[in-house]
Symmetry: C2
């Protein structure tokens, strides 16, 4: 079916569209790309491309680099790539046993990374956020010392978020209806940590368009990616895999129910079962109970959603070799279609940094999607 | 962001588009609607609308009806509505303990309904399909005796389907890799029964755009509707809720695992637990075990997908008053967000006919979406 004809397009929105088109063409190119090649890829004239590129360079979104010398004849054209010293994203995370901040530049590189370990539960939301705000200020100061401009901030939390800035509930932090407000002098977009981590894994370009990312921390969350986009659910509260019932008569959970996955495969449950003091000790422990519980939950996800790939992040990523047999056994036993279509289990690329990297990436994504907005803000 | 300009539009596809637009405008109108009102709603000229309407009437897709007499001045215009005696959909279903066929006309009314009770397991796929083919032939004969033209056929099965015509696995029927072929002399599109039932419930227009439909039969399936569209999963195998683990050490299931939902809340398990001989007897039985198991599975679905409405179909629909307390207790206990956003439990509108009605509806949907194709076929 055709759609109804679109509304008339104004000049300013044509420019905004073309700026984004040029910027994303450069961003999607593995190597530096010439203005002529951008023109060819976009269908815009060379003159238009050059004018737009000049604006993007002036706004510190693109840089022009000398090409590698070639042995053939002719002078090779200068190439464009994303600017490493323009806008940056400030990614923040608060989790049960640490708070963290990172600065990610337009090329996706982490430029600064600040992590403070420590139990966030006893201090309460106000103090935890105040301490995180100091960390954010320090990260921002370091970014600016590098000549970067922090374009925005986003915060990853292990809980359910409403309205872009309020943590509705984070059971493992003991937070209820916490409005985050500004951190480090910047307004902050708040999102679930598993959602943001899933987005950072999607950004690697190495995963199929549909997968489920499972973050193992003290809590367990899932980010569901369907057809290349995060699936958030009706109210943005999807992915609460940590509270799937593994055994209805199992041990009590902090959420009030019994036998939730977190009570078998959460970090504290795993440490307790192994008699281990630290996560590092788990690398030598028998993780069979956690693995079977995780496999049962993953089988439920695959039976319901029919995704073929599951990415294990957080503490699960380095432990996957020790968890794989038990998870695989439950998948083989419980997924109706496992015989035809084996489920791929993969360790996350980014480990414990995935969520804050995803938070910073969400800021960067906003700049790449709307460079005209960024240029207007920097001129103001 | 704008999208790239679309390819040139040919005259024939403009006509196809406008035919569908006019037909759907009439279909979406609660009352008969005049040609002038169709023109106003679509933005097409009256002359264009009249020419398209004449074609749709000639093709038996629309009829013109006399308006109800009005007391005011002026002659009221004749109204258009969908033709009740044009194309019809043949909906077929094979389930564990019955096979069935129905004919649904363009207005959505069931015109014929044929159900043969009987255990389909001992007879095997070939015999069951041969018997269903006879039923399909009889339904088609009755439709044609009414002056209807059967536009196509679709089959609902309690299992996983590949490639539109092959049942990959239907554990409760004992079917494995069954190619369906023609039934009643017609090619048949095969789909999962819960998917088709969910589509027929969506078609009532009384549900929010996102919900999960759960069909209770001997097996238990789910149809997941997100933002007004069926979510099928990567390979079309989503919704296998019947094999969610309720208790990992529970009774063995026909699928090979233990403690699946079907072993607590499937029809046979419910009859066994209640010491009942027929489904009708369940109306007076204690359904607590089934209700708690179903509630645990529903809590998992809501925690993962964040849908706010669950529709209970099949044998669950009439039993919902007796199941509601136990289901509700598990939702309250296990769904993290139940305090802010209670989950709505609703009985399905169509009961046991939902799946075959959805199958017939899929055929009707095809005609409404592409009336030009239907007109070309009837001319040929």
């Amino acid at each position: 079916m055709m759609t109804a004809s679109s509304a008339p397009v104004r000049q300013s929105s044509v420019r905004a569209h073309n700026l984004a088109l040029v910027l994303q063409t450069v961003a999607n190119s593995a190597d530096p790309i010439s203005r002529a090649a951008v023109a060819a890829a976009t269908g815009l004239t060379r003159a238009t491309v050059s004018a737009l590129v000049d604006d993007l360079i002036a706004g510190k979104l693109l840089v022009e680099v000398e090409p590698a010398p070639r042995s053939g004849a002719g002078r090779p054209a200068a190439g464009l790539r994303l600017a490493p010293d323009g806008p940056a994203g400030l990614g923040l995370e608060i989790n049960v046993d640490y708070r963290a901040a990172c600065v990610v530049d337009l090329t996706g590189r982490i430029r600064h990374r600040l992590v403070e370990a420590g139990d966030q539960r006893p201090v309460g939301a106000g103090s935890a956020l105040a301490a995180l705000s100091l960390l954010a200020t320090e990260a921002r100061r370091r970014a600016e010392a590098d000549g970067l401009t922090v374009a925005g901030a986003a915060l990853a939390v292990p809980g359910l978020v409403t309205g872009d800035d309020t943590v509705r509930i984070a059971p493992n932090l003991g937070w209820l209806d916490v409005a985050v407000g500004e951190l480090g002098g910047l307004p902050v977009a708040v999102d679930n940590e598993a959602n943001l981590a899933a987005l950072s894994e999607l950004g690697t370009g190495e995963l199929p368009p549909s997968f489920v990312y499972i973050s193992g921390e003290i809590g367990i969350g899932a980010g569901i990616v369907l057809d290349g986009a995060l699936f958030r659910g009706v109210r943005g509260w999807s992915g609460e895999i940590g509270h799937l019932a593994i055994d209805p008569d199992g041990p009590p959970c902090r959420c009030g129910a019994r036998g939730c996955l977190e009570q078998y495969a959460g970090q504290e449950a795993m440490l307790r079962a192994a008699g281990a003091a630290t996560v590092a000790d788990l690398a030598a422990a028998d993780l069979s109970t956690a693995g079977h519980a995780l496999g049962t939950a993953i089988a439920a996800v695959v039976n319901l959603l029919d995704v073929g790939t599951v990415v294990l992040g957080g503490i699960y990523a380095p432990l996957l070799p020790r968890l794989r047999d038990a998870i695989g056994a439950e998948i083989d036993r419980r997924v109706l279609t496992a015989d035809w279509s084996p489920v791929q289990l993969r360790a996350a690329s980014y480990g414990p940094d995935a969520a804050m990297r995803g938070a910073a990436g969400a800021v960067i994504r906003g700049v790449l999607d709307d460079p005209a907005g960024w240029l207007a803000r920097t001129r103001a």
